[in-house]
């Protein structure tokens, strides 16, 4: 989880992000950031997710749960 949060912080160009921080509250959270997150998840976890999968995701905790659920399939 620590590495995951560190990667997200890097994409959003912030020092740190917590599991319950809302993505929408960060000025760098836009469609390009979503693409960067998708690329990061693909590289780190070898999982393909789509922009539409992330649409309803509010915070890192929910995103990590999505990764875990896809990974277990």
């Amino acid at each position: 989880m620590d590495t995951f949060l560190k990667n997200l912080a890097e994409i959003l160009e912030i020092d740190e992000i917590k599991t319950i921080d809302r993505f929408q509250d960060f000025p760098e959270w836009d469609s390009l950031a979503v693409l960067s997150v998708i690329a990061m998840i693909d590289a780190e976890y070898q999982i393909s997710i789509h922009s539409s999968d992330i649409k309803g995701i509010v915070n890192p905790e929910e995103l990590f749960k999505l990764i875990c659920s896809k990974k277990s399939k």
Binding site: I11, S31, L32, A33, L35, S36, I38, A39, M40, S48, H50, S51, S52
Partner: protein, 249 residues
């Protein structure tokens, strides 16, 4: 058995595999890739399966392409008449999040591997002037822009730049052309097409719908035939009308 072969890189799936199957009835093939099991599958799907050969090499290992190919040709006692460069990877990543490792991987596999292979095939001591035709599988993104695909687009533009200069440099003995496919329903595009939003947009953008790998294989057959004898240095766009579609909706 003839010692003259057609080399297809990236033949383990998708467009490369389809090209191999299409050409297998009339040509001896070198089926290239990095996954032996998948290459064996392609070979089994080809006609005259026994006469085709497998060259196993990871093109990311750029510095050993020339020696690997040279040894393969020498040990097999064969020569290459047609080179079809189909190998390629596309990593969708915005520029800000990209890095040199990702960029170099795409450039090596999509572009520099072609220069290494051609340079090897042009050496008299290795291929004895047998090469007469080079075909690159480029992309419509060679000429247009797309979010998160800057380096991929650049790798295909590089390939087409190489194609034009080689067409001049190697004429009149060798013809060099590119085929620029639009979205083709292949394993490489599967990830994109699985997204319902992208899938719906593709259907709207492509007047003739999504393409099949066979559509590209058919263009390859034309570029290998005598019917295209006066054609060199060209980008052949095979995209179901995608790049001429200016519809507002």
């Amino acid at each position: 058995m003839s010692a003259i072969y057609t080399l297809i890189t990236g033949a383990s799936s998708g467009i490369g595999r389809s090209i191999a199957i299409e050409l297998s009835s009339s040509k001896n093939l070198i089926i290239h890739g990095r996954n032996l099991a998948k290459l064996e599958e392609t070979k089994k799907m080809c006609l005259n399966s026994n006469r085709h050969l497998i060259w196993l090499h990871d093109l990311e290992n750029i510095e050993e392409i020339a020696s690997s190919l040279q040894i393969f040709l020498k040990e097999s006692h064969i020569f290459v008449e047609v080179f079809i460069h189909c190998a390629g990877i596309a990593v969708a990543i915005p520029m800000k999040s990209s890095n040199l490792t990702i960029s170099m991987k795409m450039m090596n596999i999509n572009f520099f591997s072609a220069t290494e292979i051609i340079s090897t095939l042009l050496k008299k001591k290795i291929n004895f002037c047998n090469l007469i035709n080079i075909i690159f599988i480029s992309s419509i993104w060679s000429n247009y822009g797309s979010i998160a695909h800057a380096v991929y687009s650049a790798s295909k533009s590089a390939l087409d730049g190489l194609m034009r200069s080689l067409a001049v440099e190697l004429a009149p003995l060798i013809r060099v052309n590119s085929i620029l496919p639009g979205a083709i329903n292949t394993p490489m595009a599967e990830q994109c097409l699985a997204d319902p939003e992208i899938n719906a947009k593709f259907k709207q953008d492509y007047p003739l719908g999504l393409g099949k790998a066979e559509d590209i294989a058919n263009a390859v057959v034309f570029l290998m035939s005598e019917k295209s004898r006066w054609l060199t240095g060209q980008q052949i766009i095979v995209d179901g009308g995608r790049t001429i579609n200016m519809s507002l909706k």
